[in-house]
Symmetry: C2
Subunit: 178 residues, 2 copies
C-alpha cells in the first residue's frame, strides 16, 4: 500500500509518500514541500497548491491520501489557511477516486511515537528511525507528512473494519455522520 | 460587468449572478444553490462543490467571482466546512484566471442595506428591490450570494483604486500583505 501524507498549510504543505502495510517494513518513496508565496492572493495560492499536489500524485501514484484533520484551537488566521489548503488536497485526491483519510495531530503522534503529546522533535526522530533515514526530514512539515502516511498505513485496516461495522448498523435519523 | 457571488458552505453554497456597474441598473442573471449530501465524506462533498461551481461558471461566464470572507467567531465545526467550501470556489475561479474578491458579511450588508448589522430579512428585502424581483430569493444563502455580487459591483472600482495606490507604495519588509 502506497500512502501520500499531506500536512496542509497555505505557505508550506508538507508531502510525504510511504510504502508499507501493517506489520511489514516501511519504505520512504519521497518527501518534500509544496510552497506558495506569502504575498500572493489566497485564491492564487490555492491554485499553486492544487498544481503541486497534482504533480505529487502524478509522480508517485499513491493508493490513498492521508490529510491532517484541521482543528481550530490554534491561531484563527492560520487555521483558515490550513482548512483551505486541506480542502484543495482532499479535492485533488477525491476527484481521482483516491480514498481520503483524515487523522488528527494527536492520532498521528500516538501512532508513530506511542504518545499523543509527543513534540516535533520526537515525531521527527521516530519517522527517521521507522523509515531508516540518515537524518530527520526538514522542514518539520515534511516529517509530519511522512508521519501521517505511516499513521494511515497502520490505522487503515482498523478504520476499515470500523467503517464496515458502522455501515452494518442502521443509523438513527438525524444523527451526524461520523 | 457580470459578477458571480458565492456564499460558501459544505451543505449549501448560495450562487448568484448579477450584471451591472457602479451607478447603473442591476440585473439578475441567475440564482441558485449548490447542495451536497450531509452524510457524504468531506472530500466527496468538495468534489461536488467543485463540479457545481464549474457548471455555474460555464453557464454564466462571469467577469469576476466574489466569495464571502470566512471568519471564525461562529461555530467551529461549521467554520471549517465554510473555509473548505470557500477554498474550492476560489480555486475554480482563480485557475480560470478570473479575479476573485473577498467581502466580509458586514461589508455585504452595509453595501446593500446601508447597515453592517442588517439581518437576513433586510438583506433579502433589499436584494429583491435592487434586482426588481417578484419575491425574495430562497433559501437565504441564495439571496446572500446575490448580495455579494451586488456588493462587489459597487465596491470593485474603489477596491481597484486602493490596490493600485498600495502597489505604488513600497511595502516595508516583513509586513503582511493586505
Amino acid at each position: 500500500m502506497r500512502v501520500m501524507g499531506v500536512d496542509p498549510g497555505l505557505t508550506r504543505c508538507g508531502v510525504g509518500v510511504v510504502d508499507g502495510s501493517a506489520g511489514r517494513r516501511l519504505g520512504m518513496v519521497a518527501v518534500g514541500v509544496v510552497r506558495t508565496p506569502v504575498n500572493a492572493e489566497t485564491a492564487q495560492r490555492l491554485v499553486l497548491i492544487e498544481r503541486g499536489v497534482e504533480e505529487w500524485i502524478d509522480a508517485h501514484r499513491p493508493d490513498a491520501v492521508a490529510v491532517e484533520r484541521v482543528f481550530s484551537q490554534h491561531n484563527v488566521r492560520t487555521v483558515m489557511g490550513t482548512a483551505q489548503a486541506s480542502a484543495v488536497a482532499m479535492l485533488c485526491a477525491a476527484r481521482r477516486g483516491l480514498p481520503v483519510a483524515l487523522h488528527t495531530p494527536s492520532e498521528v503522534k500516538a501512532a508513530v511515537t506511542g504518545s499523543g503529546r509527543a513534540d516535533k522533535a520526537q515525531v521527527g526522530a521516530m519517522v527517521t528511525r521507522l523509515l531508516r533515514l540518515a537524518e530527520p526530514p526538514r522542514p518539520a512539515d515534511a516529517a509530519d507528512a511522512l508521519a501521517l502516511a505511516i499513521c494511515h498505513i497502520w490505522r487503515a485496516p482498523a478504520q476499515d473494519r470500523l467503517r464496515r461495522a458502522r455501515a452494518a448498523v442502521p443509523r438513527p435519523k438525524g444523527t451526524l455522520p461520523s
